[in-house]
Every structure is written in C-alpha cells, then in structure tokens.
Amino acid sequence: MERRDFIKITGAGALTLGAAAVGCAPKKTASATDEGPEQMVYRENPRNGDKVSLIGFGCMRWPMIEKDGQRVIDQDAVNEMVDYAIEHGINYFDTSPAYLMGQSEKAAGIALSRHPRDKYFIATKLSNFNNATPEASIRMYKDSFEQLKTDYFDYYLLHAIGSGGVAAFEQRYVQNGMMEFLVKEKEAGRIRNLGFSFHGAPGEFDELIGLHDSGRYHWDFVQIEMNFVDWNHADGRRNANASYLYEELDKRGIPIVIMEPLLGGRLANVPDAIARQMKEREPDKSVASWAFRFCGTYPRVLCTLSGMTNMDPLLDNVNTFTHFKPLTEEELEFLERMATQMMEYPIVNCTDCKYCMPCPWGIDIPGIFKHYNTSVTEGRYAQTQEQKDYQKLKKAYLVSYDRAIPTLRQADHCIHCGECLSHCPQSIDIPRQLQRINLYVEKLKQDTL
C-alpha cells in the first residue's frame, strides 16, 4: 500500500482506534502472513494488564528552535506529533528531567495533558547524576509531577545504572534512602511500575538483577539498549550484548522496554552496501523499519522507544507497527550478517544522546561524531591519497566539517580532561575518539593520508 493511501485510511479511521487498542492480540508471535494486522500492535504487561503500544515515543530528540536567543523545544511541532501518535495508537511516552536541557518533561506535559490521562502511559526517570542527595533527588521526583501535570507515573526508572555496578547503584539510590522512598511511593500508587534503565557490563547487570532474585528489590520492568547490532556486537569491553540481557530478563519474566533501537539514527542511515541488501528484500520498506521489526520480533519486549524528531519518522514508525510483520528466522540471520558488515566501518558508537554535554571546554562532542559517522556511512570518507576521487572526498569532508561544527568546537580543541568519560552510556573513550578524528582531519589537510 502506498504511504499516502495508508495515511488517508488511518486518518479517516480514527474512530476505529478504540477498537484497535482492545482488539489486538497482546502476545504477538511470529505469524508469517504476507500482510500484517492493520492496527497498532500492543503488548500486555503481565503484571497489571497494561496494554502498551509496541512502539513508544522517546522524548529525548524533539526539535529545538531559537527563541529570544535561547534554544527551546518547538512546542507546536511536539503537540502535532503527540496528537498524531495518540490518534494512531501510540500510548507510551518516555521522558526524563535531564533530556533536552531539562525541557523535555515540561513539553511532554503540555502536549499530553491535552489528552485524557487514561489514554497514555508516562515513563520518566530519577536522573540524579550530579547531585544524589536525598533533598535534590526528592525535589527532582516531585518536580516531575508538576512538569508532566500528573499525579502518578505509570513507569518510573532509575536513570542509567549499571556502570559501577551495585556500588554506584547504592550511592545514587540506597544510601540516600531513595529506594525506600520510591517503594513507598509505589505502594501509595504514585508509581505504578518501578524499574531501571541499564548501561553497563554483563557482570554489573548480574549484580543488579541479583537484587531482584534475592527479593531485596522487585524490578517491574527493565529498559535496555537493544538493536540488531548490539544484539551480539555491543561495543566496548564495558557494554553487555543485548542478547544476554534479553535472555536474562526473559528467564525471569521481566517486561523489557527497548531504547536505542536505531542507535541514534545510525541504523536508519546505514552504509550503501548494507542499505542495498535491505532494499533488495523489501524495496518499499524503510531501512529503519528493519531495526524496529527486529525489536518487535522478541515477545518479551513491552515497548520499543523511538526518539522521533519530526513527523516523517513518526509516519514511518506508525506504518511499521500497524502493518507489523515479525522477522523470520532467516531474516534474523540476515540482520546478523548486516550487523557483522556494519562492524567493518570505522564508526564511533555514539547514539547522539548528548549526556556528555555540555563539554566544559565547549567541544560539540556528539556533533563531531555524528558528522564523522555520517561521512563514513555516506561514503564521504577518503581511505588513501591514491584514491581516484581523493580531492573531492577531502573537500567534501573538510567543508562539511566546518559547516557542521564551528571551528572552536572541533575535535582539535579537546584537551583530554576526561570530564565526559563517566557520562557516556556507551562507554566511548571520547577523548581518544576525538583525537582519532582530528588525526584524520590533519591527514586530510596535510595530504598525508
């Protein structure tokens, strides 16, 4: 079906939405029919029967505009997207007090409060990274209610634990009494599900899940980074493969929320050689749809978060999840081959989450990585001077670099202070990667590649 036809039909068929929300099989298993169901796919939370849309709205990548010299969220665009999303059955919205320079929760609150509260689930986090005192943590928790204009959170997460294992978890949540506090809040009904988002090594994960096994804390759900690359090729010594995390959670029957299904867009914009193989199989489906179908194929997944920046990925995602086709075994093997091929490109494993920002020395860290990755992916990357179109590639890289990043925020100004290292959920050695990119730039400028 043409996308335009599809929009017409779904637009006209808003009435059928209520039916769609109820009438869909929550446990979608691999039924390899040619045409998927025409409604949004929902998964049921076994704990409380929440029917959660398989695609959720991540509120970390909303569009920003300049207003009175300040970067602020484009509220009109957000409202439009949220309306469309709810209209088309998306009912899970994930935000945090830290996102978008602290503006995400407020914008989400404004957009969502225009809809009946029982139409959607709100997920937010205790992002007490810099200040984990009880006062600051509770203030952050309470402020989230105000920002989001609600008196309960459907899903509440301890934000990004894992790195540092139980010790770090204790420091941020136990020693300050926050776990005790949050458990009480849950009993009071202000938190319906308590979980955590995880970035770290397998051992660290084992420690945290051990708390569940021992009965000390109960995790209602866990948010993990999962996609067809991280499934078996998680980057770095410090990050666990998604296949391991998934299986450990599946064993225990803990619902899984997925973040970074696209690796910050990198799996939507893949190198040509890989895109071609995907298009050979599914000429009319977007590259991104492969990554989403991968996540949706696994039954323990409750929701797949997508940080949609504008209407276009939203339309595409609604399309993917209203005509949802799980991947076959053969297709999963195909994606594993694609992941292996992806690993051959010298890409920096950055998902553009901006946790490292602001760099105290003014470096645009995610911008530099994004420009580099896009150049590699889109073939604006010279390998050697002997290359036929070396001069063209050189100019393309250097000009686009200056366009993307102001000179003073480029990689050569990184002083290796290491401030960013602890903030990166991907555990990227940021200074080293910046130096690597700067060396490449220097080689281009000096013609010594």
């Binding site: 970067r71 760099c359 686009s400 366009r403 002083i415 290796h416």
Partner: protein
Amino acid sequence: MLKKIRVALAILFWLGITLLFLDFTGALHGWLGWMAKVQFLPAVLALNVAVIIGLVLLTLVFGRIYCSVICPLGVFQDGVAHLNVARKRKKKDRKPYSFSPEMKWLRYGVWVLFVIAIIVGVQALVALLAPYSAWGRIVQNLFQPVYLWVNNLFASIAERANSYAFYDKEVWLRSLPTFFVALVTLVVVVILAWKNGRTYCNTICPVGTTLSFFSRFAMFRPVIDAEKCKNCKVCEHNCKAACIDIDRHKIDYSRCVDCFNCLEDCKFGALKYKFAWGRKEVTEPAGNDGGRRAFITGAALAVGTAALKAQEKKVDGGFATILDKEVPERDIPLTPPGSRSVKDFYRRCTACQLCVAECPNNVLRPSTDLKHFMQPEMSYERGYCRPECTRCSELCPAGAIVKITKEEKTQYHVGTAHVNPDLCVVEKGVECGNCARHCPAGAIMLVKDEETGYRRPVVNEERCIGCGACENLCPARPISAITVNGRHNHLNED
C-alpha cells in the same frame, strides 16, 4: 583601434589583479599571481631586475602604457573619470578637462620624499603613496568583505543543496586603522579622478613620476601635426591627463599615459601615435604650481588602536561559552615563514594586503604599530600558521616573503613559544597537554611538576618554529597560557 586595444587590455588586467585580491580559495593565484609580480614598486623592493628593466624598456618604447594598462589604480581612475565624462556629455558639456601646467614642486617633492622613505624605511609612507599598495588596501578592506558575503550567500545555498562548490569564509575586520586609511584612500582617489582625471597619477603617484623620467624619451608617442590641427581643442578638452596644450601644439609626455583617446577624438587626423624618437622634447610651458589641491595624507594615521573586538557570541545553551581570544603582548612582531628576518620583511613589504586577503587561516592582518603601519603581522587568535600552507609565500610580489615549499617552511623559525604557568589550566588541576599534542615540530614536552604533581608543558626553543598551533589551541582564554613571541632572524644558518 589603439584605444580599443588599450581598453580591452586594461580591463583584463584590472579584473585579473582585482580578482587576485578577492579570491580566498587559492584557486586563482597560480594563474594571476604574475600580475602582482609585474607591478613596479613590488618589483623594485623585490630587486626583480628583469621586471624593472622590462617596465623601463616598455616605457622607453611606448610611453606610460603601464599607467593605462598594468596599474590597477590607474585603470580604476579611468573608470571613475569615464563615468563623469559620460554624465557631462549628456548635459552637452563637451569640455570636461583642459590643459594645466605640470605641478613640478608637488610632483617631484612627493617623489623625493618617497625615495627617502624607501631608503630610510618609513614603509607606512611608501604604502600610503604607492598605487599598487593603495589598490590592494582598497580591495582587501572594502571590496573583499562584500565578495565574501556574496560567497557566503552562495555557500548557504550550496549547503542546502548539499554541494561543496562554495564554502563559508569568516568575514572579520583585521585592523580598523587600516580599514579607515583604505576608505580615505578610496574617497580621495575617486574625488580626484571624478573631477580631474589623472591628477593623482601626475602629481602624487611616485611610480608615475618615475616612469615619466623615461616616457619623455619614448620612441612612440602621440604627435600633433600642427598643419592639420584646426585648434578645435577637442583633444585638449578630453585629455584626462591635462597634458595637451593646443595653443602651443605641444604634449607633455611626462604626463601622457598613452590612453589614445585623443587619437580618436581628432576628426582631422592631426594626432598620430608614431615613431618620434630623437625629436626635440616638448619644452615645458612656464607656470606656477599654485597648490590647487591639497592632498589629505597622514590624517588617518592618528586613529586609535584596533579596539574592535568581536562580540561574544550567543551560544546554544547546550554548549559551554567560549571566550574570544585576545592578542597577547609580543615584543617582536611575527612575520610569516618565508620572510628572512623581521627587518628584511618590513623593508620589502609594500603593504599591498595581498597576503592578508589570501591567508586561509586568518593569521595575517595589517599591523597597527606605527613603525610597520599597515604592513602585515601574524597573530594566532583565529587560527595558526598551518604546516601545509605556503600561500602567502607564493603570492608576495615584493619578495618580502620568499617562495618556500612545505618542507622548507619547517626551517623558518619565526618565533618561539613561552609558557605562562599562571594561566595554564593544568595549574587548576585539569589534565590537558593540548599544546604538546598539536605541536607540529614536537617542541613541547610535558614535565611533571614536583610540587603539584601536574604534567605541565615546557618548550624546547631549538625545535619551536613559532607556528602558533599551541597558542591557538590552548584552552586558556582570553589570553593563552602559551604564547609565541617573534624572532628577529628566521633562518638559523646566519
């Protein structure tokens, strides 16, 4: 016909040399660089004997063709004068000019002053008077910004179209005093040309005066055939050099710039450009010099320092604010690699601003120091003298910067870096070492401070070439913790 050839060549030359000053990409200087090198004053200062002899011979054979074709300021004045003449013609005023006697006192006075200035080394005066320097100054300061803005407009369009054909280039004011001098120069030259054609060339321009010594004896020159002449004075009234005296049927060849306008103006065929060597020189009519026009000079020198600091940019809240760098104190100025010594550089430099206009790293700018006023110096707030770049050395027509290769560049030791520990971020407990990491000469080492345990930079003076990578990339702002001071001599073998 001769006039048409003159006009065509003049336009070509003028466009070429002006484009040379406007272009910032380095794409044109391979093609057009020679146009700067055949300019008279740069050739003299570069001791470029071939060009000097060539130009003198040219003048001896054909007269002051140089002034009508090669000199960009001369051609520019013709353009301005032409506009006014065309305007007057519309108003039926057919007598835009008339003969005036040579203003010897002013003309030779300025020339003597100029020669003394070269010998003594008052380069600011040389640059102020010399036509090529004046044109370079005007183009770099007044026209190049416009050119860059248009380029940047194209660049933003190209960016939207994902094209790399145009790229953005920062437009910044390098020196307010020099900008002001350029503006005054332009205004004065335009007024003089508008009202009286070639006044500047024949009373002030030292190159014009120098060439006039030879043009008096030119082999070919316009000659009036007194028998055919009907004394209508059309030629005299259209001579922008005011050098045709029809009452006496004489032409002052010291001032004639061979524009050939008169040849076509004469309906009676009384004027011919022909071989006239050995004919008795025109006796100069007596006249007094009366200071008809005062030339405004020097006034601009009194302007204060370049206090125009770029405004702090409003940045995205997601980014830390970066302060602009300030120019540190430098006891000895920094002049580019390719200049043998500071003294030699400033002796030869005509302050034409060609290197300033071309410097792709935003390093070169006109000095505000009165001793080297308008002559370029280097500073590293916006960039540094990058190892692969030798563009200024390829361009300099005056030999102030000798042509060097990338490899030869490393032998030039134009300055030495010094660390100011009080400003170094390491002293605040931050790991850094950015200067050492980026030093292309490997001159900076990190040593452990016994007291604090911090690894702080030290400079091996012998290795340092003064390129400024360390100063530019130093995170300390607004004054870098590592700054480069100039060196008198740049080559070690002396």
